[in-house]
Structures are given as structure tokens and as C-alpha cells.
Point group: D3
Chain length 237, copies 6
């Protein structure tokens, strides 16, 4: 249930019998030949598909994240960490004030991981009710990562692992081969300018594509793992 496909009365009715909600967070940043919205599109879609049979509402994806190392590729946006943690704080505060007690932040972008620090701080602020917040990076959660690794261990930014029918864009022909793998020690420490020089097309390594059948297997694993989180990923209370 997308929040944008609901009115407030429907959300109010839902809160009479459940207290879970999903906040997908993504990024607007270069993904090589793929959509600049890849991380946002996938985080929202995996959330919606996972939550649908459970009837759990899914907020619109926060489309902007932290990607300071990609800002030399036009169209890439990046929030400062000081900004991002305040956005997250505000959204969590709103949800908590309305009666949501189990919040799943489904993340589609590695650079957003530090916000987990804010979440750990947030759950410890004094408030009337205990509110659980789990931070779940869907694309490298254990079962999804395992499903992908069975196909190919090389699955870096902009590679086949992000290449779904719904992240491709019109007018872009995707190469058939592989991009050279940029070592993580380099990728983690490069500036935006260095990154653009190191990766002329924005792909950090690995094959550019796989068959739709393979991709569906990975996707199904991702959806299933988010759904399992929504069903069983909470502390007993």
C-alpha cells in the first residue's frame, strides 16, 4: 500500500490494527548506463512489492541521499550528512507521533549507511512509547547477496546487479562486456573528480548485464527478504 495511493483516513484506519510502516531511502546519482534514479527506484519498488500482501504502508522514497563521490557526474545529487540525519530525524518523529511503532527503513544506497548511527541514537531519545526502527540495505542483505553471488561475485556499482528492466532508460545502449573492477580501497577513498577519471562511464566493475531470468531470481530474493523483515524482524516486547 503506497502512502501516495492512500488518503489519511485509510492510514488512520490501518493504524487501528497495525503499527508497521516502510520508509524507502535511495539516491539520485549516476549508475553508468542505468537510470540516475536506480537506487531510489529499486528501494521503493522492493518495498512496495514486499509490503503489498501484508498491507503495510510504504512512504514515497526519499530520492536524495549521500553520494559526495559521484557529484562530478551530472545529475547526481548529494545531501551533506548533517542534513541527511535531520531529514531522517524529522520523518521518524512524525511517524512516531502518529502511532507507528515499527518502522523499516529500506535502503537502496551504500552511501546512506551512516544514517544507521542516527537511528541508533534516535531510538534512545526519551519518548512515551518504544518505537523500533530497523535499517535494512536490501541489496546486500544476506539472502539477497547470496542469491546474487551465485551468479557472479563481481557486482559493483552500476553493474548487472542493478540492471533491471525498471532501471534501464530509453536511448541508452548497454555494453555487453564487463567494466574493469575498481578496487574497494580506491573507490572508498577517491574524490568525485578522481572517481570520474577512474570510471569514465560510471560503472565500478563487473558485467554490465545478465538475462532477465537471472535478474528475476535476485529480485525475488530481495523482495522476500524485505517481506521477512516486515514480518519477523522485530524485537519481541
Amino acid at each position: 500500500m503506497r502512502v501516495f495511493d492512500s488518503n489519511w483516513m485509510q492510514i488512520a484506519a490501518y493504524l487501528q490494527h497495525d503499527d508497521r510502516v516502510v520508509l524507502p531511502v535511495g539516491s539520485t546519482e549516476q549508475h553508468g548506463y542505468l537510470s540516475l534514479g536506480t537506487d531510489a527506484l529499486l528501494a521503493e519498488r522492493v518495498s512496495v512489492e514486499a509490503a503489498e500482501p501484508l498491507g503495510v504502508p510504504v512512504l514515497p522514497v526519499l530520492p536524495f541521499g549521500m553520494a559526495p563521490y559521484f557529484t562530478e557526474y551530472p545529475g547526481s545529487m548529494s545531501l551533506r550528512i548533517s542534513t541527511y540525519i535531520e531529514v531522517m530525524r524529522d520523518l521518524l518523529d512524525c511517524l512516531a507521533s502518529q502511532g507507528f511503532r515499527r518502522i523499516a527503513v529500506v535502503n537502496g544506497h551504500g552511501g546512506n549507511a551512516p544514517v544507521a548511527g542516527l537511528i541508533r541514537e534516535w531510538i534512545n531519545r526519551p519518548r512515551e512509547h518504544r518505537v523500533q526502527v530497523v535499517f535494512h540495505s536490501w541489496y546486500n542483505a544476506p539472502k539477497t547477496a547470496e542469491a546474487a553471488a551465485r551468479f557472479d561475485e563481481d557486482q559493483y556499482h552500476g553493474s548487472w546487479l542493478e540492471n533491471f528492466a525498471w532501471t534501464r532508460v530509453a536511448g541508452a545502449e548497454i555494453p555487453t562486456g564487463s567494466a574493469p573492477v575498481l578496487p574497494r580501497s580506491v573507490a572508498n577513498n577517491a574524490t568525485a573528480q578522481e572517481m570520474r577519471a577512474l570510471s569514465p562511464d560510471g560503472s565500478l566493475g563487473g558485467a554490465y548485464q545478465r538475462s532477465d531470468e537471472d535478474m528475476q531470481i535476485v529480485w525475488d530474493a530481495g523482495v522476500a527478504e524485505v517481506r521477512e523483515l516486515l514480518e519477523k524482524g522485530w524485537l519481541d516486547q
Copy 2:
């Protein structure tokens, strides 16, 4: 051209011959019987339709805005003003660093208006290139407001003026009559709790709906006015 329907190379190519971009900003908040995403959906859609024939890229809508007076209606989100201005600053900084020189912030929510103060400050920060930023609240820009007023002067939050085929939600029957008009002096000064008591269904007044033909006339005016802004709304330099 939605940025999410593009990859970075396409944006880079665009920047070779143009320097305009649209950033739609909305809100996730109660709109009576209509979608909680009304302000976001309309801001993004009016931007995309206006920009399409011009080839100007449109960023994904920032779906969260400032609506502290609606947070008692479940599903409504609100960023603090201190947060919101930093989000805007970061996005403008990214765009400026990539060569965009004329940025249209197309706004769909009245509560976001104070960010215009940040924009006036931002354009005055020292930077290498002059970057123009116009803040345009599409729904009450002169020509759009005039088109709407010809039908009905009463057009408050949640009323017919926001009731488009693309802001209605499944499972919600919209009343045929009118909601009593909440005086602006009350609406502007009420707290979230008072607001919910004053407006049990969230509509602040006026008829709930008009014919699709009428709505199309208003919509066309809105699209045309945003397009005119993109074409002629810039200072000569």
C-alpha cells in the same frame, strides 16, 4: 525529461547546450479524501508536462515539505524549517557545481513558501558563476489562479482545485457537496490538534469536486504558466 528516465551521460549531453533544470517540491500530507501525495504528485506532474517539449530535465519531486499543522492526520509528514533549508541548499549546491545556471523550483505546497528566503540568501553567496533560482508555486501563480477563480473563488486545501484524476485514490468516495470554509486567520494560526478538530475530514473548505473538463482547463493553465516560466522567467545577463 525526467532525470529518473535518464542516465548521467544524457544529462551531461544536455548541459552542453542548455543550463536549465526543474526541481519540483511537494509535501506528504493529508488532503481530505485525496491522496496524501497530492502536493508532490501535482508539482512533479506539472513540471514534467511543462518541461517536456523544452527538453529541460526534471528532478524527482522532494516529497516531504513543511506541514506542522497537519501532523495529527496520520500519514502526514513534516520537516522542520531548519532541516528543509539545508536540503534545499544541498540540492542547489549540487546543481550549481554541475553547470546548471537557471533552476526552477516548482512548488506544490503553501507551507514550503519560507524556503524562498533561503533561495534569496543562496543566490547571494559568493560563487564563481551567477546561478538564477526562481521559486514558483504553480497552483497560485497569477494565470493559474485566475483560471481557477473563474470557476469558483473557494478553493482551499483539499477542495476541488486539488481533485484531479491523478490525485484520487482507490476506495475513497468523494462527497458531492462542499466543506465549510475555514477562515484563513484560523487556518494560519491553528495547531495540528486544533486543525484536526476544526476540519474532521481534512478539507479546509469549498466544493469537493468539479467536472474533469473544468479541471483540465485549470491544469492546462498551470502547465502553460510553468512552461512560460521556463522559457521567459529569467533575468537577462
Copy 3:
């Protein structure tokens, strides 16, 4: 009753029987041939005259506001919006903690308008008592604006509408004609440097002066409208 003409015991005595207070906010910025303090002087004076017969205390004017577009004219000061909202928050917090429950922020400067966003947020923060805060830009409130418009529709920054005996300065001869009108679409989007080039003397348009009789009529309307606000501008509770 100016707070600066009172000691704390007198304010404490007042709070035994009333809970209203006025906080005037202005700006220190160029006003063409007129005083750099025009907006501050007028906001404080209109507040004091309006409040006097009611016995409502008036704080000293906050003399610095948001005017980033005027900082190229020496003597103009500007606070960042991030600073200004914290100043306002602190002052409101102090007043609320002391028992004031109806606070009128009487504003004399257009650039300060975004602080209304903070006020709407502030009244929604949880606190023990409901505190009302109205934001009133005295110079363009309906009745005052109407009184002025009857004389002349052109009444821009630095024009006759701000030219009172108490905003003129020694040693400055004021022209008798009119300044060319700078279109709002230009004034709203110009940088400080552009503004100074566009308006060599700082007046944004219209006649430089009118007779003292005319000015008194406008002034009386402003005082009356602030007084009416203090008497009737509050929500019933």
C-alpha cells in the same frame, strides 16, 4: 508600554491580568535617502502607538533581519535564515516560559516573512500551555495597504510609503520626483550586486515623497490595524 520603560516587577504585575505582548521585528538596511533603520523604527513605533492605550508591553525591536539582496549598500545588515529562526525561537521560548500566551510579532520588513514558517512550527511543539503567535506585517496588512493604495499604487521599497518625519535623516535631501519602478520579478531574483546596479540610489520605484497629511492617514491606518489585531486577532479558546 515599552518593556525598556519598565522594570521586571511591572511586567510581572501586568502578567497577573493579561497575557499579550508585542515583539516588533525590523531590519537594518538601505532605504534610499531614508534611514537605514526605517523598517525597525516603523515596526517599533507602530507597535508602541497601537499597544499604548491597551497597556500591552512592547519589546525592543529586533533591529536585524534578512536582507541578503541589499548587503552591497553599506550599513545594510543581514542575518542568515538559519540564524534568524533560532533568534525567533529563543525569544518565543522565553516569552512562553514567563506566562505570555498571545504574542504578536509585528514585522516591518518583507524579507522577514519566511520566519512565519518557524512560527507555525513553533506553535506545534509540545508545551504545557497553548501559546498563540500571530505574524503581522503591518505595512501591507489589508487596511493599511488599502489606505496607501488610495493615494498611489506604486509604493515600493524606499518610496514615499516609508517616508515619514521619523524615517528621514539629517543631511539628506529627498528628490521630488519618482524613481523608476523595478519589476517585482527582477527585484525578487536579483543578487545584491545586481540590485545595487539596478537601483543606484536604493529606491525600487515610485514617488519619493508625499505630504505629511497623506502620510498621517496611512500611519493612522497602520496603527489602528495593529491595535485591532491586539484586541481581536486571537483564536477563541
Copy 4:
């Protein structure tokens, strides 16, 4: 030369031949039987009198300072330190951008002293021109303090030392005796609630008044010392 008695052209003309300016900072807080504006009124007045023969412009006093320990006395305002340093930063930035190179912050309130830390930081930020900023608490500068000590060593908050013709308020009869002296170790560590209990009338100790002749001697010392600062208080460059 008060900035509020000038227009921008006069300040621009001044900057052709001088680069000094005075920013008085005060506080709005209880001073026993005296005006709630005592610290602000004195800081501004001592600045104006000192600067007058030199032709140095004096900004309007910043009327709000840091006085968290007095907020239980109605009418007392207090900015948080995080707010206050940003206000100071903004004002200094504006002055520096306009060509002022020697800025005297003339302070009338002990609680504002921590802003000196911001000033030391500010002068070290990289900028094109060296800008000097001196922070001068006029009331306890060496010569003024010595002039006062010759009369009476006990000169605490709200006592005779702040009792000038221009800090008394109508309707308040000032006692003739002395208030008991609150030890500094207590005054410095008391909360606002404790402070109000410890000092029922707000005076922290010493005689309530002295003759106008004595007061004039102290005042003259204060004015002379600020003037000396404006003339000789700068580093050679």
C-alpha cells in the same frame, strides 16, 4: 553617528576615509528596580557618546543577549549561546563585506562574554582582508572599574552602578539602602529559579543609588575609555 540617523549613502561616504564601526550589544533582562533594558541602553549610549566626536558610526544595539539565569523574572529574554554566536557571525560578516576593517563590539552585559570566543575564531577565518574586532565590556574596563571602585567596591547587578537617570523607569521608587551581596560563587552557579528565590527584587547586592554627580564621574570614565579604544585600541598593520 547612529547608523539609524544615517542613510546608506552617508555610510558609503564615511567608508571612503575611515573603516571603524561600533556594534553595541546588550541584554533585555531584569535589573531590579531599573529598566529591563539597562544593559542595552547603556551599551548603546556609551557607544554613541564615545563615537560622536570621532564620526564613527554606531549600529543599533543588539538588545537581546545571554541571560539564562534571569529568565524567571518576567520580561527577561535570553538567547542560547548557539544562537548568539551565529548572530554575531552574521553581523561581522556583513560589516567585513562592506569594507569595515576595525569593529568595536561594545558590550554591556557580563553574560555575553563568551561571544569573545566566537570573535577570536572569526578573525581567524580566511578572508581577503584583515579585519580587527575588539570586544570591550565597557562597565568593567580598567579605568571605568577604577572610577567606580573609588566610590564603592560593591557594585553588583542592579545596584547603583547601573542606576543612571537614563535607566530609571517611571513608577518605580528605588530603595535608599543596600541589597545584601550575593556571593559570586552563588550567583555564577544558581539556576533561574534559585536566582529569583535568592534575590527577591533582582538586585544582587550593594547600594541601590548614588548621587547624579558621582554617577556622572563613572559615566564620563566609561565614555572616555570607549573613545580611547576607538582611537588607539587597534593593532598596527
Copy 5:
């Protein structure tokens, strides 16, 4: 070379021929029977031993980190993430301004990991010189983790892996058995109050101690890995 065992002239001399520096960061937080300073002591010590033969200076450890989940155990301190990132920014800025170009942040506490987000942002801020900053959590770097895993896979907070001669405290007898292992999904999502209830002695699981011989092997691996980082962990330029 500890910075605290040096004067500034010695650091200045060092900068004539090298540009590396180590900033150890730790935490003051409960470690079961072990010192509240465990993470800080180890981060500083491993840095000093690793840097010693290279002559690279080591700053004093930042003893306070982010540990909101442990604050119910007395003596545990926690900085908010918004604070911590500003501390890191300031320290990096100082180092960069003095000519350090390769900065190793050697971290001893898992909760500090989000600061890596600030570091990625910081290296992308415009500055005159490229400054590399590597963030290295010494205790779970690949080779150190492998050395530890050879002994025992269970090595949670407060267990044998942190139990060195230099983290034990006088007067505390350490149990010989094992603490029950708290699942990571629980530990990552528990509040401070829940954490204290879940782990009565503060150990999150595994054996409390191993022989000094075993510990030395782990320690040597940690020192060697930090030294390798200082020698080879930089991007070529």
C-alpha cells in the same frame, strides 16, 4: 611519536619530510569487567605501536564516541552524531591547514563507523591540496579479524578479544566462562535500557578471557595491519 610527547617545533620539523598523521578515535563506554576506556586505550595504543618505527605522529585519542545504546551503564559517554561529525570536521580541517596530506583515523569502536560518511564528504570539499583520509577500524580489519577468528569466532563486545593486560582494571575479577551471545539483530536494535536488561554485566557474548600468548598474537596482527596501512594504504597521486 605521540604528539603529546612532542612540541610544535618537532612536528614542524617532521612536516618538512613527511605528511602522514594518525588520529585515534575511541569511546568511553562499558566493557563489562574491563576498563570503561577499552576502545580508546586500544585505538591509541595500536596507533602508537604501529607508527613508532615510522616516526609518524599520533594525536591523543578522541576518548568520546557514539554509544547511545550503552548510556544506562554508568560511566558510559555518548556524543550525538551531529556533534561527532563536527568534531571530526574540525580536527581534519586543522590537520589539512598545517600541511598533513595523509590522515589515518584509527578507530576502536563500532559505533563510530558512521563518521566515515563525514570523511567521504570532507575529502570532497573544495580545498587547495588533496588530502587523503582513511578510516580504519583496527579490531575488525581483515588480517586482525582473521587472527582472532582462528582462536574463536565468538568475539563480541566485552569479550576476550578486548581483554588485554592493558584493559583490565584493578579490583575486578574476570569470570572464567562465557557470556551468552546476544544476537546481532537484537544488539543492533536494543535501546540502552533494553541493553542493560539483556546483558546484566555488559558483555555481549563469548569467552571472557584467553591466555596472554593468544592475545599477543591478535595484538601483533592489529599493530602490523595499522602499520601496513600507514605504509601502503594511500592512493598514488
Copy 6:
């Protein structure tokens, strides 16, 4: 009792019968020929020696303070005031939440004095229990300053007064004469670049050294005065 020589259970046991704690704060900054850690080392050491017989716990020193005027001397660190006050706020909040009710901040660096403003604000924030916080700059507290003045009135930064066996560093020969005294009016207003030019070795004036016997007398006075503070420096409640 150093907190780093304790585990949390020992601190918990202490809190059963006492509620005092010491937080030493220092600086990492040039001290001429002496250790860059002089202010931190002395603040921590004087705290530990003073607290030892009382059994009061002493936190690890906060080694970084505010010293923007020394950053041109390599190895000197400086936090911005906006950062420093948040660090202090966080530490005080943690201590208060754990039951500490009397906190002594023992300061070793003049530039940190503005944090006293935060402390006065902090004690006035609403909280369940009254928490006292005293800010004590040990090196210029009355009795210690008097002990030092008996030897020599000239005792500026980097001079004999900071030259203890435990602040000297290996490999640095300390001159036998005196450094010229930099006037306070200069030292307080110089930028970091000017400071380095004015004081080539970093000493701001006075003899470089005195006998260990003399130094012990000063030291003993400092320890005694901190101990007296811990014993008697609190308001009765």
C-alpha cells in the same frame, strides 16, 4: 579514581553513595618548547591528584579545545565554538542521566572559557533533578594564581608556569632566559598568522623555567584548590 582505571560496575557502586565527578578539559596546542599536550596533561593530572583521596571519579581529559589563534603552529588543534559547546552539552547530558549531580569541569586552557556560557545555559534547561556544574580554570584560580605570583608576575602562555617535569618533552632544550612579554591587548586580538610572527618560538613571555622546588609549590596549590572545590564548591540544597 580515573574512569579509565574503572569498569562500569565500579562507577555504579560509587554512585550508590556519591554523586560527584570531574571532567578535565584541555587543549592540544603549541606551548613553545613544552609538550603540545600541556593544557590537557595538566588539567587531567591536577584533577586526578585532587580527586584521588576523595574517591571521586575523573573522566579522561577532553584533549581538544578552542585555540584558533595557534593553528599556524603545527600540531595545534582547534574546535569551533559551535562544536565545543555541543561536545560539552552531550557529556553533561550523559552524566546527568546516570545520576551525577555535582560535576566539576576542570579546565586547563584559557581559550576554553567561553564554554562557561554553555554551562550556565545547561543548568537552566528543564530536567528532573538539579545538577550543579562548576567551571574551574585551575591555573588561574585565586590561590594557585597567588602562589605563582609570589615567584613571578610574568607567567604567560608557554612560560615557566607551565614547565613541569611532566610537560617537558624529550629532545627539546629549554632556554634559560626569558621571552619578551607580548601585551595581552596584542595576544587577544592577533590572528594565528600574526601570532606566529609575533612569537617565533610560541612562548608569549616571561622566564622559560624555574626550579622544580618552586614548581612543586605552585602545583600543590593547584591540587589543593581543586580538592577544595570538590569538597566545598557546591551550593547547599
